[in-house]
Symmetry: C2
Subunit: 293 residues, 2 copies
Protein backbone atom coordinates (compact mmCIF):
# COMPACT_ATOMS: atom_id res chain seq x y z
CA UNK A 1 0.00 0.00 0.00
CA UNK A 2 1.35 3.38 -0.95
CA UNK A 3 0.32 6.80 0.35
CA UNK A 4 -2.73 6.53 2.61
CA UNK A 5 -3.23 9.98 4.11
CA UNK A 6 -3.60 12.37 1.22
CA UNK A 7 -4.00 16.12 1.54
CA UNK A 8 -5.23 18.08 -1.43
CA UNK A 9 -4.44 21.78 -1.36
CA UNK A 10 -7.23 23.56 -3.19
CA UNK A 11 -10.82 22.42 -3.64
CA UNK A 12 -11.37 23.73 -7.18
CA UNK A 13 -12.58 21.55 -10.03
CA UNK A 14 -9.57 19.27 -10.17
CA UNK A 15 -8.65 19.41 -6.49
CA UNK A 16 -12.12 18.37 -5.39
CA UNK A 17 -12.24 15.59 -7.99
CA UNK A 18 -8.86 14.21 -6.92
CA UNK A 19 -9.79 14.33 -3.24
CA UNK A 20 -13.14 12.68 -3.87
CA UNK A 21 -11.66 9.86 -5.97
CA UNK A 22 -9.01 9.26 -3.31
CA UNK A 23 -11.71 9.07 -0.61
CA UNK A 24 -13.90 6.87 -2.82
CA UNK A 25 -10.89 4.56 -3.14
CA UNK A 26 -10.43 4.28 0.61
CA UNK A 27 -7.71 6.88 1.13
CA UNK A 28 -7.99 9.33 4.02
CA UNK A 29 -8.42 12.51 2.03
CA UNK A 30 -8.39 16.08 3.28
CA UNK A 31 -9.24 19.16 1.27
CA UNK A 32 -7.46 22.22 2.51
CA UNK A 33 -8.84 25.62 1.51
CA UNK A 34 -7.93 29.15 2.57
CA UNK A 35 -11.42 30.12 3.71
CA UNK A 36 -14.72 28.62 4.83
CA UNK A 37 -16.20 30.05 1.64
CA UNK A 38 -13.77 28.13 -0.54
CA UNK A 39 -14.51 24.94 1.41
CA UNK A 40 -18.25 25.47 0.95
CA UNK A 41 -17.69 25.72 -2.79
CA UNK A 42 -15.53 22.59 -2.66
CA UNK A 43 -18.32 20.72 -0.85
CA UNK A 44 -20.82 21.76 -3.51
CA UNK A 45 -18.47 20.44 -6.18
CA UNK A 46 -17.95 17.18 -4.32
CA UNK A 47 -21.73 16.71 -4.24
CA UNK A 48 -21.71 16.88 -8.05
CA UNK A 49 -18.78 14.48 -8.40
CA UNK A 50 -20.50 12.08 -6.06
CA UNK A 51 -23.45 11.89 -8.47
CA UNK A 52 -21.16 11.41 -11.45
CA UNK A 53 -19.04 8.76 -9.72
CA UNK A 54 -22.19 7.00 -8.55
CA UNK A 55 -23.38 6.72 -12.16
CA UNK A 56 -19.99 5.88 -13.58
CA UNK A 57 -19.14 3.14 -11.08
CA UNK A 58 -22.74 2.16 -10.31
CA UNK A 59 -21.72 2.73 -6.70
CA UNK A 60 -23.93 1.63 -3.82
CA UNK A 61 -25.09 4.00 -1.07
CA UNK A 62 -22.69 2.20 1.30
CA UNK A 63 -19.77 2.95 -0.97
CA UNK A 64 -20.79 6.60 -1.28
CA UNK A 65 -21.20 6.90 2.48
CA UNK A 66 -17.78 5.34 2.99
CA UNK A 67 -16.27 7.85 0.56
CA UNK A 68 -17.80 10.76 2.47
CA UNK A 69 -16.52 9.30 5.72
CA UNK A 70 -13.00 9.28 4.25
CA UNK A 71 -13.16 12.93 3.17
CA UNK A 72 -12.62 15.88 5.51
CA UNK A 73 -12.17 19.61 5.04
CA UNK A 74 -10.09 22.17 6.87
CA UNK A 75 -8.86 25.73 6.62
CA UNK A 76 -5.95 24.93 8.96
CA UNK A 77 -2.88 24.09 6.95
CA UNK A 78 -1.23 22.79 10.09
CA UNK A 79 -4.04 20.29 10.63
CA UNK A 80 -4.11 19.43 6.93
CA UNK A 81 -0.42 18.56 6.91
CA UNK A 82 -0.24 16.75 10.21
CA UNK A 83 0.58 13.13 9.41
CA UNK A 84 0.05 13.56 5.65
CA UNK A 85 1.83 10.95 3.52
CA UNK A 86 1.26 12.90 0.35
CA UNK A 87 0.24 16.46 -0.45
CA UNK A 88 -1.26 17.19 -3.86
CA UNK A 89 -1.19 20.87 -4.72
CA UNK A 90 -4.13 21.80 -6.97
CA UNK A 91 -4.20 25.57 -6.53
CA UNK A 92 -4.92 28.14 -9.25
CA UNK A 93 -2.38 28.43 -12.08
CA UNK A 94 -0.65 31.44 -10.59
CA UNK A 95 3.01 31.22 -9.69
CA UNK A 96 2.72 33.62 -6.73
CA UNK A 97 -0.19 31.65 -5.24
CA UNK A 98 1.76 28.44 -5.60
CA UNK A 99 5.00 29.95 -4.27
CA UNK A 100 3.20 31.26 -1.16
CA UNK A 101 1.65 27.87 -0.58
CA UNK A 102 4.86 25.88 -0.97
CA UNK A 103 6.78 28.16 1.36
CA UNK A 104 4.08 27.89 4.02
CA UNK A 105 3.88 24.13 3.42
CA UNK A 106 7.63 23.74 3.84
CA UNK A 107 7.54 25.45 7.24
CA UNK A 108 4.70 23.28 8.58
CA UNK A 109 5.14 19.88 6.97
CA UNK A 110 7.31 17.03 8.13
CA UNK A 111 10.55 17.23 6.09
CA UNK A 112 9.82 13.75 4.71
CA UNK A 113 6.36 14.62 3.34
CA UNK A 114 6.07 14.07 -0.40
CA UNK A 115 4.45 16.88 -2.36
CA UNK A 116 3.31 17.02 -5.98
CA UNK A 117 1.78 19.63 -8.24
CA UNK A 118 -1.22 19.09 -10.49
CA UNK A 119 -0.34 22.21 -12.48
CA UNK A 120 -1.07 21.93 -16.20
CA UNK A 121 1.08 24.86 -17.18
CA UNK A 122 4.07 24.71 -14.83
CA UNK A 123 6.79 22.11 -14.55
CA UNK A 124 8.15 20.63 -11.34
CA UNK A 125 11.37 22.50 -12.05
CA UNK A 126 9.45 25.81 -12.11
CA UNK A 127 8.27 25.26 -8.55
CA UNK A 128 10.80 22.94 -6.92
CA UNK A 129 12.85 25.69 -5.27
CA UNK A 130 9.84 26.83 -3.19
CA UNK A 131 9.16 23.39 -1.72
CA UNK A 132 12.42 23.05 0.23
CA UNK A 133 12.52 19.43 -0.98
CA UNK A 134 13.09 19.28 -4.71
CA UNK A 135 13.99 15.60 -4.34
CA UNK A 136 10.55 14.78 -2.88
CA UNK A 137 8.57 16.76 -5.44
CA UNK A 138 7.24 16.02 -8.93
CA UNK A 139 4.46 16.83 -11.37
CA UNK A 140 1.33 14.68 -11.17
CA UNK A 141 -1.27 15.70 -13.68
CA UNK A 142 -4.93 14.74 -13.78
CA UNK A 143 -7.52 15.44 -16.47
CA UNK A 144 -10.98 16.88 -15.82
CA UNK A 145 -13.75 14.34 -14.94
CA UNK A 146 -11.07 12.07 -13.57
CA UNK A 147 -13.36 9.09 -12.94
CA UNK A 148 -13.76 8.75 -16.72
CA UNK A 149 -10.69 10.52 -18.12
CA UNK A 150 -8.54 8.69 -15.67
CA UNK A 151 -5.01 9.37 -16.80
CA UNK A 152 -2.51 10.37 -14.13
CA UNK A 153 0.62 11.69 -15.81
CA UNK A 154 3.71 11.34 -13.62
CA UNK A 155 6.55 13.71 -14.47
CA UNK A 156 9.69 13.98 -12.35
CA UNK A 157 11.87 17.06 -12.49
CA UNK A 158 15.66 17.03 -12.81
CA UNK A 159 16.10 17.10 -9.00
CA UNK A 160 13.44 14.53 -8.13
CA UNK A 161 14.64 11.35 -6.37
CA UNK A 162 15.15 8.62 -8.95
CA UNK A 163 12.69 6.27 -7.25
CA UNK A 164 9.90 8.70 -6.46
CA UNK A 165 8.04 8.58 -9.79
CA UNK A 166 7.73 4.79 -9.53
CA UNK A 167 5.77 5.07 -6.27
CA UNK A 168 3.02 6.89 -8.13
CA UNK A 169 2.36 3.91 -10.36
CA UNK A 170 0.83 1.95 -7.50
CA UNK A 171 -0.79 4.99 -5.95
CA UNK A 172 -2.44 5.92 -9.25
CA UNK A 173 -3.89 2.45 -9.65
CA UNK A 174 -5.11 2.48 -6.03
CA UNK A 175 -7.16 5.60 -6.75
CA UNK A 176 -8.45 4.10 -10.03
CA UNK A 177 -6.21 6.09 -12.34
CA UNK A 178 -4.08 4.82 -15.21
CA UNK A 179 -0.49 5.87 -14.49
CA UNK A 180 1.31 7.40 -17.45
CA UNK A 181 5.05 7.83 -17.08
CA UNK A 182 6.49 10.99 -18.61
CA UNK A 183 10.22 10.37 -18.95
CA UNK A 184 11.37 13.96 -19.42
CA UNK A 185 9.97 17.32 -18.39
CA UNK A 186 7.61 18.47 -21.11
CA UNK A 187 5.31 21.49 -21.16
CA UNK A 188 1.74 20.24 -21.40
CA UNK A 189 2.79 16.76 -20.27
CA UNK A 190 1.67 14.21 -22.90
CA UNK A 191 -2.02 14.99 -23.25
CA UNK A 192 -1.92 18.74 -23.62
CA UNK A 193 1.20 18.56 -25.79
CA UNK A 194 -1.05 16.85 -28.36
CA UNK A 195 -4.40 18.42 -27.55
CA UNK A 196 -3.23 22.03 -27.84
CA UNK A 197 -1.86 21.81 -31.42
CA UNK A 198 -4.83 19.69 -32.47
CA UNK A 199 -7.35 22.18 -31.08
CA UNK A 200 -5.28 25.05 -32.45
CA UNK A 201 -5.43 23.63 -35.98
CA UNK A 202 -9.20 23.15 -35.72
CA UNK A 203 -9.62 26.70 -34.42
CA UNK A 204 -7.59 28.07 -37.29
CA UNK A 205 -9.84 26.33 -39.82
CA UNK A 206 -12.86 27.91 -38.15
CA UNK A 207 -11.59 31.46 -37.68
CA UNK A 208 -10.13 31.56 -41.20
CA UNK A 209 -13.56 30.66 -42.55
CA UNK A 210 -12.38 27.39 -44.09
CA UNK A 211 -15.20 25.36 -42.58
CA UNK A 212 -18.01 25.38 -40.05
CA UNK A 213 -17.33 23.91 -36.59
CA UNK A 214 -19.89 21.17 -37.14
CA UNK A 215 -18.26 20.12 -40.41
CA UNK A 216 -14.83 20.15 -38.80
CA UNK A 217 -16.07 17.94 -35.96
CA UNK A 218 -17.87 15.62 -38.36
CA UNK A 219 -14.72 15.17 -40.44
CA UNK A 220 -12.63 14.32 -37.38
CA UNK A 221 -15.23 11.94 -35.95
CA UNK A 222 -15.67 10.01 -39.20
CA UNK A 223 -11.98 9.87 -40.03
CA UNK A 224 -10.72 8.84 -36.59
CA UNK A 225 -13.74 7.16 -35.02
CA UNK A 226 -13.54 9.61 -32.11
CA UNK A 227 -16.72 10.23 -30.12
CA UNK A 228 -16.30 14.00 -30.37
CA UNK A 229 -14.58 16.59 -32.50
CA UNK A 230 -12.56 19.62 -31.42
CA UNK A 231 -15.52 22.00 -31.02
CA UNK A 232 -17.36 19.49 -28.86
CA UNK A 233 -14.18 19.39 -26.77
CA UNK A 234 -14.31 23.19 -26.45
CA UNK A 235 -17.93 23.01 -25.34
CA UNK A 236 -16.93 20.42 -22.74
CA UNK A 237 -13.97 22.28 -21.27
CA UNK A 238 -15.81 25.58 -21.61
CA UNK A 239 -15.18 28.45 -24.00
CA UNK A 240 -13.51 30.43 -21.23
CA UNK A 241 -10.68 27.90 -21.29
CA UNK A 242 -10.53 28.11 -25.09
CA UNK A 243 -10.35 31.88 -24.80
CA UNK A 244 -7.57 31.77 -22.21
CA UNK A 245 -5.45 29.34 -24.23
CA UNK A 246 -5.55 31.59 -27.27
CA UNK A 247 -5.43 34.91 -25.44
CA UNK A 248 -2.26 33.73 -23.70
CA UNK A 249 -0.40 33.65 -27.01
CA UNK A 250 0.82 36.78 -28.70
CA UNK A 251 0.73 35.80 -32.38
CA UNK A 252 -1.88 37.39 -34.59
CA UNK A 253 -3.80 34.19 -35.38
CA UNK A 254 -4.17 33.33 -31.68
CA UNK A 255 -5.28 36.85 -30.83
CA UNK A 256 -7.87 36.74 -33.60
CA UNK A 257 -9.09 33.36 -32.36
CA UNK A 258 -9.32 34.75 -28.81
CA UNK A 259 -11.49 37.57 -30.14
CA UNK A 260 -13.81 35.10 -31.87
CA UNK A 261 -14.14 33.05 -28.67
CA UNK A 262 -14.76 36.22 -26.66
CA UNK A 263 -17.64 37.19 -28.94
CA UNK A 264 -19.30 33.86 -28.25
CA UNK A 265 -18.61 34.09 -24.52
CA UNK A 266 -20.26 37.53 -24.48
CA UNK A 267 -23.32 35.96 -26.11
CA UNK A 268 -23.43 33.40 -23.28
CA UNK A 269 -22.35 30.52 -25.51
CA UNK A 270 -19.95 29.00 -22.98
CA UNK A 271 -20.67 25.39 -23.84
CA UNK A 272 -22.11 22.57 -21.73
CA UNK A 273 -22.04 24.82 -18.66
CA UNK A 274 -24.59 27.31 -20.09
CA UNK A 275 -26.47 24.75 -22.16
CA UNK A 276 -25.32 26.30 -25.41
CA UNK A 277 -21.97 26.57 -27.13
CA UNK A 278 -21.15 25.24 -30.58
CA UNK A 279 -23.93 22.73 -29.80
CA UNK A 280 -27.06 22.81 -27.68
CA UNK A 281 -27.16 20.67 -24.51
CA UNK A 282 -28.05 18.25 -23.00
CA UNK A 283 -28.62 16.59 -26.38
CA UNK A 284 -25.96 17.99 -28.68
CA UNK A 285 -26.36 17.36 -32.38
CA UNK A 286 -23.09 15.44 -32.57
CA UNK A 287 -24.45 12.66 -30.37
CA UNK A 288 -27.25 12.03 -32.89
CA UNK A 289 -26.22 9.11 -35.15
CA UNK A 290 -27.64 11.12 -38.07
CA UNK A 291 -24.87 13.68 -37.52
CA UNK A 292 -22.35 11.36 -39.18
CA UNK A 293 -24.45 10.69 -42.26
CA UNK B 1 -29.62 12.17 -59.92
CA UNK B 2 -26.24 13.78 -60.39
CA UNK B 3 -23.22 12.48 -62.31
CA UNK B 4 -23.85 8.94 -63.58
CA UNK B 5 -20.92 8.08 -65.80
CA UNK B 6 -17.82 8.48 -63.69
CA UNK B 7 -14.28 8.03 -64.93
CA UNK B 8 -11.49 7.61 -62.41
CA UNK B 9 -8.04 8.37 -63.73
CA UNK B 10 -5.61 6.16 -61.86
CA UNK B 11 -6.30 2.81 -60.21
CA UNK B 12 -4.05 3.20 -57.17
CA UNK B 13 -5.27 2.76 -53.61
CA UNK B 14 -7.68 5.70 -53.58
CA UNK B 15 -8.60 5.65 -57.27
CA UNK B 16 -9.62 2.00 -57.14
CA UNK B 17 -11.58 2.55 -53.90
CA UNK B 18 -13.45 5.53 -55.36
CA UNK B 19 -14.28 3.68 -58.58
CA UNK B 20 -15.42 0.60 -56.69
CA UNK B 21 -17.68 2.55 -54.32
CA UNK B 22 -19.18 4.43 -57.29
CA UNK B 23 -19.88 1.13 -59.07
CA UNK B 24 -21.22 -0.43 -55.85
CA UNK B 25 -23.58 2.56 -55.65
CA UNK B 26 -24.92 2.03 -59.17
CA UNK B 27 -22.77 4.51 -61.06
CA UNK B 28 -21.15 3.51 -64.35
CA UNK B 29 -17.52 3.63 -63.30
CA UNK B 30 -14.45 3.33 -65.47
CA UNK B 31 -10.89 3.05 -64.24
CA UNK B 32 -8.40 4.45 -66.70
CA UNK B 33 -4.77 3.39 -66.38
CA UNK B 34 -1.75 4.00 -68.59
CA UNK B 35 -0.86 0.33 -69.05
CA UNK B 36 -2.37 -3.14 -68.84
CA UNK B 37 -0.01 -3.73 -65.93
CA UNK B 38 -1.45 -0.83 -63.97
CA UNK B 39 -4.99 -2.07 -64.69
CA UNK B 40 -4.06 -5.55 -63.47
CA UNK B 41 -2.85 -4.04 -60.23
CA UNK B 42 -6.06 -2.00 -60.01
CA UNK B 43 -8.14 -5.17 -60.46
CA UNK B 44 -6.21 -6.89 -57.68
CA UNK B 45 -6.93 -3.91 -55.41
CA UNK B 46 -10.61 -3.92 -56.32
CA UNK B 47 -10.80 -7.59 -55.34
CA UNK B 48 -9.60 -6.56 -51.86
CA UNK B 49 -12.03 -3.65 -51.61
CA UNK B 50 -14.85 -5.95 -52.65
CA UNK B 51 -14.14 -8.16 -49.63
CA UNK B 52 -13.98 -5.18 -47.31
CA UNK B 53 -17.15 -3.59 -48.68
CA UNK B 54 -18.92 -6.94 -48.51
CA UNK B 55 -18.12 -7.16 -44.80
CA UNK B 56 -18.82 -3.52 -44.06
CA UNK B 57 -22.19 -3.34 -45.83
CA UNK B 58 -23.06 -7.02 -45.38
CA UNK B 59 -23.56 -6.97 -49.14
CA UNK B 60 -25.22 -9.88 -50.96
CA UNK B 61 -23.60 -11.70 -53.87
CA UNK B 62 -26.14 -10.02 -56.17
CA UNK B 63 -25.03 -6.59 -55.00
CA UNK B 64 -21.37 -7.49 -55.48
CA UNK B 65 -22.06 -8.86 -58.95
CA UNK B 66 -23.96 -5.70 -59.86
CA UNK B 67 -21.02 -3.60 -58.68
CA UNK B 68 -18.60 -5.57 -60.88
CA UNK B 69 -20.99 -5.17 -63.83
CA UNK B 70 -20.89 -1.39 -63.31
CA UNK B 71 -17.09 -1.25 -63.30
CA UNK B 72 -14.92 -1.33 -66.43
CA UNK B 73 -11.25 -0.75 -67.13
CA UNK B 74 -9.45 0.78 -70.07
CA UNK B 75 -6.05 2.04 -71.15
CA UNK B 76 -7.67 4.23 -73.82
CA UNK B 77 -8.17 7.73 -72.48
CA UNK B 78 -10.41 8.51 -75.44
CA UNK B 79 -12.74 5.63 -74.54
CA UNK B 80 -12.55 6.53 -70.86
CA UNK B 81 -13.64 10.11 -71.50
CA UNK B 82 -16.30 9.42 -74.11
CA UNK B 83 -19.63 10.42 -72.56
CA UNK B 84 -18.15 10.89 -69.07
CA UNK B 85 -20.20 13.13 -66.78
CA UNK B 86 -17.43 13.41 -64.25
CA UNK B 87 -13.73 12.65 -64.23
CA UNK B 88 -11.98 12.08 -60.91
CA UNK B 89 -8.23 12.39 -61.15
CA UNK B 90 -6.52 10.13 -58.61
CA UNK B 91 -3.01 9.96 -60.04
CA UNK B 92 0.26 9.97 -58.06
CA UNK B 93 1.10 13.16 -56.14
CA UNK B 94 3.46 14.47 -58.78
CA UNK B 95 2.73 17.75 -60.48
CA UNK B 96 4.24 16.70 -63.83
CA UNK B 97 2.18 13.51 -63.94
CA UNK B 98 -0.96 15.47 -63.21
CA UNK B 99 -0.11 18.26 -65.66
CA UNK B 100 0.43 15.73 -68.47
CA UNK B 101 -2.85 14.05 -67.67
CA UNK B 102 -4.92 17.27 -67.56
CA UNK B 103 -3.48 18.52 -70.83
CA UNK B 104 -4.26 15.22 -72.55
CA UNK B 105 -7.69 15.17 -70.90
CA UNK B 106 -8.46 18.69 -72.11
CA UNK B 107 -7.73 17.71 -75.71
CA UNK B 108 -9.95 14.63 -75.66
CA UNK B 109 -12.83 15.45 -73.31
CA UNK B 110 -16.05 17.24 -74.13
CA UNK B 111 -15.55 20.89 -73.10
CA UNK B 112 -18.46 20.52 -70.65
CA UNK B 113 -16.99 17.56 -68.77
CA UNK B 114 -16.48 18.24 -65.09
CA UNK B 115 -13.13 17.20 -63.63
CA UNK B 116 -11.93 17.04 -60.04
CA UNK B 117 -8.69 16.15 -58.28
CA UNK B 118 -8.37 13.85 -55.31
CA UNK B 119 -4.91 15.22 -54.54
CA UNK B 120 -4.13 15.50 -50.82
CA UNK B 121 -1.22 17.82 -51.26
CA UNK B 122 -2.20 20.11 -54.15
CA UNK B 123 -4.99 22.64 -54.37
CA UNK B 124 -7.38 23.12 -57.29
CA UNK B 125 -5.65 26.42 -57.94
CA UNK B 126 -2.31 24.59 -58.32
CA UNK B 127 -3.70 22.51 -61.19
CA UNK B 128 -6.57 24.53 -62.70
CA UNK B 129 -4.53 26.08 -65.51
CA UNK B 130 -3.76 22.64 -67.00
CA UNK B 131 -7.42 21.61 -67.24
CA UNK B 132 -8.50 24.26 -69.74
CA UNK B 133 -11.67 24.62 -67.66
CA UNK B 134 -10.84 26.14 -64.28
CA UNK B 135 -14.55 26.91 -63.83
CA UNK B 136 -15.46 23.20 -64.09
CA UNK B 137 -12.73 21.97 -61.77
CA UNK B 138 -12.40 21.60 -58.00
CA UNK B 139 -10.75 19.55 -55.29
CA UNK B 140 -12.63 16.48 -54.07
CA UNK B 141 -10.78 14.63 -51.37
CA UNK B 142 -11.42 11.12 -50.10
CA UNK B 143 -9.80 9.33 -47.17
CA UNK B 144 -8.31 5.83 -47.31
CA UNK B 145 -10.77 2.92 -46.72
CA UNK B 146 -13.55 5.12 -48.03
CA UNK B 147 -16.40 2.73 -47.22
CA UNK B 148 -15.67 3.33 -43.54
CA UNK B 149 -13.83 6.67 -43.47
CA UNK B 150 -16.42 8.10 -45.79
CA UNK B 151 -15.73 11.81 -45.79
CA UNK B 152 -15.67 13.52 -49.17
CA UNK B 153 -14.19 16.98 -48.76
CA UNK B 154 -15.35 19.40 -51.47
CA UNK B 155 -13.08 22.37 -52.05
CA UNK B 156 -13.61 24.84 -54.86
CA UNK B 157 -10.78 27.00 -56.17
CA UNK B 158 -11.01 30.74 -56.79
CA UNK B 159 -12.01 30.18 -60.43
CA UNK B 160 -14.51 27.36 -59.88
CA UNK B 161 -18.12 28.05 -60.91
CA UNK B 162 -20.09 29.21 -57.89
CA UNK B 163 -22.61 26.38 -58.19
CA UNK B 164 -20.29 23.49 -58.92
CA UNK B 165 -19.36 22.57 -55.34
CA UNK B 166 -23.05 22.17 -54.44
CA UNK B 167 -23.52 19.44 -57.05
CA UNK B 168 -21.05 17.29 -55.15
CA UNK B 169 -23.26 17.21 -52.09
CA UNK B 170 -25.80 14.97 -53.81
CA UNK B 171 -23.17 13.03 -55.69
CA UNK B 172 -21.26 12.30 -52.48
CA UNK B 173 -24.39 11.00 -50.78
CA UNK B 174 -25.22 8.86 -53.84
CA UNK B 175 -21.87 7.08 -53.53
CA UNK B 176 -22.34 6.69 -49.74
CA UNK B 177 -19.96 9.47 -48.71
CA UNK B 178 -20.57 12.27 -46.22
CA UNK B 179 -20.05 15.55 -48.09
CA UNK B 180 -17.90 18.07 -46.22
CA UNK B 181 -17.90 21.58 -47.63
CA UNK B 182 -14.55 23.38 -47.45
CA UNK B 183 -15.35 27.05 -47.92
CA UNK B 184 -11.87 28.31 -48.77
CA UNK B 185 -8.83 26.71 -50.27
CA UNK B 186 -6.80 25.15 -47.50
CA UNK B 187 -3.71 22.96 -47.70
CA UNK B 188 -4.58 19.56 -46.22
CA UNK B 189 -8.30 20.28 -46.56
CA UNK B 190 -9.95 19.86 -43.15
CA UNK B 191 -8.82 16.42 -42.09
CA UNK B 192 -5.12 16.63 -42.80
CA UNK B 193 -4.98 20.22 -41.53
CA UNK B 194 -5.77 18.72 -38.09
CA UNK B 195 -4.20 15.29 -38.43
CA UNK B 196 -0.75 16.51 -39.43
CA UNK B 197 -0.12 18.81 -36.40
CA UNK B 198 -1.65 16.22 -34.07
CA UNK B 199 0.59 13.44 -35.39
CA UNK B 200 3.53 15.83 -35.42
CA UNK B 201 3.09 16.63 -31.73
CA UNK B 202 2.86 12.94 -30.87
CA UNK B 203 5.96 12.19 -32.90
CA UNK B 204 7.87 14.92 -31.14
CA UNK B 205 7.02 13.43 -27.74
CA UNK B 206 8.35 10.09 -28.93
CA UNK B 207 11.54 11.20 -30.64
CA UNK B 208 12.44 13.57 -27.77
CA UNK B 209 12.17 10.62 -25.38
CA UNK B 210 9.33 12.17 -23.38
CA UNK B 211 7.22 9.02 -23.50
CA UNK B 212 6.81 5.64 -25.14
CA UNK B 213 4.47 5.34 -28.14
CA UNK B 214 2.17 3.01 -26.22
CA UNK B 215 1.87 5.47 -23.33
CA UNK B 216 1.19 8.34 -25.73
CA UNK B 217 -1.56 6.35 -27.45
CA UNK B 218 -3.04 5.26 -24.13
CA UNK B 219 -3.18 8.85 -22.90
CA UNK B 220 -4.94 10.03 -26.07
CA UNK B 221 -7.40 7.13 -26.08
CA UNK B 222 -8.40 7.57 -22.43
CA UNK B 223 -8.62 11.35 -22.59
CA UNK B 224 -10.59 11.60 -25.83
CA UNK B 225 -12.38 8.26 -26.06
CA UNK B 226 -10.77 7.67 -29.46
CA UNK B 227 -10.44 4.07 -30.63
CA UNK B 228 -6.78 4.58 -31.51
CA UNK B 229 -3.87 6.83 -30.69
CA UNK B 230 -1.39 8.49 -33.02
CA UNK B 231 1.04 5.57 -33.26
CA UNK B 232 -1.78 3.18 -34.12
CA UNK B 233 -2.68 5.67 -36.86
CA UNK B 234 0.92 5.49 -38.14
CA UNK B 235 0.74 1.70 -38.19
CA UNK B 236 -2.51 1.92 -40.17
CA UNK B 237 -1.32 4.40 -42.80
CA UNK B 238 2.08 2.73 -42.86
CA UNK B 239 5.41 4.00 -41.60
CA UNK B 240 6.47 4.88 -45.13
CA UNK B 241 3.84 7.61 -45.12
CA UNK B 242 5.00 8.77 -41.69
CA UNK B 243 8.54 8.90 -43.02
CA UNK B 244 7.55 10.87 -46.12
CA UNK B 245 5.57 13.44 -44.14
CA UNK B 246 8.53 14.17 -41.89
CA UNK B 247 11.24 13.83 -44.51
CA UNK B 248 9.44 16.41 -46.63
CA UNK B 249 10.04 19.10 -44.01
CA UNK B 250 13.38 20.73 -43.60
CA UNK B 251 13.40 21.63 -39.90
CA UNK B 252 15.71 19.72 -37.61
CA UNK B 253 12.97 18.07 -35.52
CA UNK B 254 11.21 16.70 -38.63
CA UNK B 255 14.48 15.43 -40.06
CA UNK B 256 15.28 13.70 -36.80
CA UNK B 257 11.81 12.16 -36.73
CA UNK B 258 12.24 11.00 -40.34
CA UNK B 259 15.49 9.29 -39.30
CA UNK B 260 13.72 7.50 -36.43
CA UNK B 261 10.94 6.30 -38.77
CA UNK B 262 13.55 5.19 -41.32
CA UNK B 263 15.29 3.03 -38.71
CA UNK B 264 12.02 1.24 -38.05
CA UNK B 265 11.25 0.87 -41.75
CA UNK B 266 14.69 -0.70 -42.28
CA UNK B 267 13.82 -3.21 -39.54
CA UNK B 268 10.64 -4.09 -41.45
CA UNK B 269 8.36 -2.47 -38.88
CA UNK B 270 6.05 -0.86 -41.42
CA UNK B 271 2.84 -1.33 -39.49
CA UNK B 272 -0.29 -3.31 -40.32
CA UNK B 273 1.09 -4.08 -43.79
CA UNK B 274 4.04 -6.11 -42.48
CA UNK B 275 2.25 -7.36 -39.37
CA UNK B 276 4.51 -5.38 -37.06
CA UNK B 277 4.94 -1.68 -36.42
CA UNK B 278 4.49 0.03 -33.07
CA UNK B 279 2.08 -2.86 -32.39
CA UNK B 280 1.84 -6.47 -33.58
CA UNK B 281 -1.01 -7.42 -35.93
CA UNK B 282 -3.66 -8.72 -36.44
CA UNK B 283 -4.34 -8.34 -32.72
CA UNK B 284 -2.60 -5.15 -31.63
CA UNK B 285 -2.22 -4.53 -27.93
CA UNK B 286 -4.28 -1.34 -28.09
CA UNK B 287 -7.44 -3.27 -29.01
CA UNK B 288 -7.17 -5.27 -25.78
CA UNK B 289 -9.48 -3.68 -23.16
CA UNK B 290 -6.67 -4.23 -20.63
CA UNK B 291 -4.57 -1.70 -22.55
CA UNK B 292 -6.56 1.16 -21.06
CA UNK B 293 -6.27 -0.02 -17.47
Amino acid sequence: MSYQKVTVAGGGTLGSQIAYMAAFSGKDAIIWGRSEGSLDRAKARVARWEEAVKDYYEASQEELDAAQAHLTYTTSLEDALSGADLVIEALPENIETKKDFYEEFDKLADPETIVVTNSSTMLASDLAEFTGRADKFLGYHFANTIWRNNTAEIMAGPETDADLAETFIDFSREIKMVPIMVNKEQHGYILNAMLVPFLGAATELWVKGVAEPQDIDKTWMIATGSPMGPFAVYDTVGLNTAYEIHNGKSDEASQYAAKKFKERIDEGLLGVETGKGFYTYPNPEYLDPEFLK
